[in-house]
């Protein structure tokens, strides 16, 4: 089994557009959406069957029993997350700020602090028509997005063993959800954008993936909106000896395809053809049939 993870650093460069196309082209049987705070892949792969639903629990959050509390203030003083406050009705925990570290519970001399399980996200696993698709939604106010990403990947672990190729759509940024999604990836395909912001963000995601030793390839979306910047990205990749997988032109059909809930490769259009070329260049990189 080989796993391709689509990342970008910057948001909105076309990760999901590329990931969805790869799934179609590879006829991938196993895929996942790790962008748990803004998942979209399911919009392009409507599943007939109801998914298996699982609740995701982050760490239990503190709750203070005001009838037991003696207002010693120890918990408030030692909470590093400023989650505990006091008002006329006593001490309260802000569930959004609480990270569940349990320091308050350990310090409370009268046992007024208890911990409540709080669902932090909803996991969905679709298994129908030979396809296994894992996705999740982070609940508002829950912090543990990295852990939820790990659970999304855990859901496809068994199915992955039998699949030749697994495609994973990642999230923007370089923080915990991205780091969590990198584990187990054989190749990161970075979808870059030819803007100053896009280049800066690409350089940071390349460094991040580099720390974890994951193999990288780069493609550029909307390359013709700024040719000089596209050339700059190509040169950067050359310098870093990162395989360049190709370019996708700006194409209004992309927006239409998304709004019709279809992948771009289902349409005969310039962007669709370009993604096919990138796919054909990327697959050998991960399956190791030839070295670029």
């Amino acid at each position: 089994m080989k796993q391709i993870l689509i990342l970008s650093g910057k948001g909105g460069t076309g990760k999901t557009t590329v990931a969805a196309s790869f799934i179609r082209l590879a006829k991938a049987k196993v895929f996942a959406d790790c962008d748990v705070d803004a998942p979209n892949l399911h919009l392009l792969f409507p599943q007939k069957e109801e998914p298996q639903k699982n609740l995701f629990f982050g760490l239990p959050k503190a709750k203070i029993d005001t009838t037991l509390c003696t207002s010693c203030d120890l918990c408030r003083q030692h909470c590093r997350f400023s989650a505990i406050s006091k008002d006329g009705n006593g001490y309260h925990v802000d569930p959004f700020a609480c990270e569940g570290c349990a320091v308050c519970g350990a310090l409370c001399p009268v046992g007024a602090v208890s911990f409540e399980e709080a669902p932090g996200g909803d996991l969905f696993l679709y298994c129908g028509e030979g396809v296994t698709f894992s996705t999740a939604t982070l609940r508002m106010g829950s912090g543990a997005s990295g852990k939820l990403v790990s659970e999304v990947k855990q859901q496809i672990k068994e199915a992955s063993k039998k699949a030749a190729l697994v495609i994973v759509d990642g999230s923007p940024g370089i923080g915990c959800p991205v780091i969590a999604s990198l584990s187990g990836a054989d190749l990161v395909l970075i979808v870059a954008e030819p803007s100053l912001s896009g280049i800066s963000d690409m350089e940071r995601i390349i460094k991040t993936a580099g720390i974890f030793g994951t193999k990288i390839a780069v493609c550029v979306n909307k390359y013709d909106t700024h040719m000089e910047n596209t050339e700059h990205i190509k040169r950067l990749c050359e310098g870093l000896q990162i395989p360049f997988a190709g370019v996708i032109p700006y194409d209004p059909e992309v927006l239409r395809a998304v709004n019709e809930g279809r992948t771009i490769v289902e349409k005969d259009c310039p962007a669709g053809r370009a993604v096919l070329e990138i796919f054909e260049k990327t697959i050998p990189l991960v399956l190791g049939e030839c070295v670029v």
Binding site: D37, A106, G173, G175, I211, P252
Partner: protein, 289 residues
């Protein structure tokens, strides 16, 4: 920061909808304003403002260090740590810095006082001016998991000049997770940037939920508007009765300038007018709250 200055957070759920475009151009149009880049994983505002950096701060978090001599292997700390950042292996207490949440519990509970804390750098805050705009950016070190400490530092720093009286714009990270919540916590108003795709609508729905959970007043600006195309984001706003405060057209020339890190409102009069009118609406929205 002066209490009476309006704090406007710009967010979107989906990445790449134009948060930075909107907040940078608003701050530039307003003048005497402050621009705070809370997208510490991928900060881009400074690429537009190119501020002359006058102050730089290192952001650190406390991480436990073990005095192996004093540690008697009681494992109270490793049993307590909810983040599995401590393990007692082969007669040695190990600290896994990257998963430590800096709660301080292990140090408090160690009966031998064998744990102390050191400050570990996780990022930087840079501050400088671009014209009359104070530009403050947070940069998370590559490989670090959480931007929250950098965002906290960004938002708590005092102003360089007391006399500054323009609005404060907070450019938020994408998504709707902890880093976004941290960024909008003290905002007076949330401006949601939406793009005309189904993806944009789906993620707009998520941040819309977020700003309501936080009971923040909010409005939407529609970006990348195309005359001939359907705009699912606009339809969504109509259905949910979300106020649309402005529309930014899809314009390849503006896009090109923006891609080069230029501030379109400073170069194109039409764009300047557009942001001036959006700014006026925003300031009024603030007053009715």
């Amino acid at each position: 920061m002066a209490e009476n200055r309006k704090k406007i957070a710009v967010l979107s759920g989906k990445g790449g909808t134009g948060k930075t475009l909107v907040s940078v151009n608003l701050a530039a149009t307003a003048g005497n304003s402050t621009y705070i880049d809370c997208d510490v994983e991928e900060p881009n505002g400074h690429l537009f403002f190119k501020p002359e950096i006058c102050r730089e701060y290192s952001v650190t978090v406390p991480i436990p260090v073990v005095d192996q001599e004093s540690c008697d292997g009681c494992r109270i700390c490793s049993d307590f740590c909810r983040f599995n950042a401590l393990a007692y292996v082969k007669d040695k207490l190990l600290v896994f810095e990257e998963v430590c949440h800096s709660c301080g519990g292990c140090v408090l509970l160690c009966p031998q006082k064998a744990l102390k804390e050191k400050e570990k750098p996780v990022g930087t805050v840079k501050e400088g001016f671009s014209g009359s705009v104070l530009v403050r950016s947070g940069i998370l070190n590559v490989g670090e998991a959480s931007g929250v400490p950098v965002i906290q530092r960004l938002l708590e720093l005092p102003e360089l000049e007391e006399s500054r009286d323009g609005p404060i714009f907070i450019d938020c990270p994408p998504g709707s997770a902890c880093i976004v919540m941290e960024s909008i916590k003290d905002a007076d108003f949330c401006l949601l940037v939406a793009e005309p795709t189904m993806f944009g609508v789906h993620n707009l729905n998520m941040v819309w939920e977020l700003v309501r959970v936080f009971k923040k007043p909010f409005g939407v600006v529609l970006n990348k508007c195309m005359r001939q195309e359907q705009n699912p984001a606009e339809t969504f706003c109509l259905e949910k009765k979300i106020p649309v405060l402005g529309r930014i057209p899809f314009d390849p020339e503006w896009g090109r300038l923006n891609a080069e890190g230029r501030i379109v409102a400073r170069e194109k009069e039409e764009c300047q007018r557009l942001f001036a009118s959006l700014l006026e609406t925003l300031m009024r929205e603030g007053e009715t709250v």
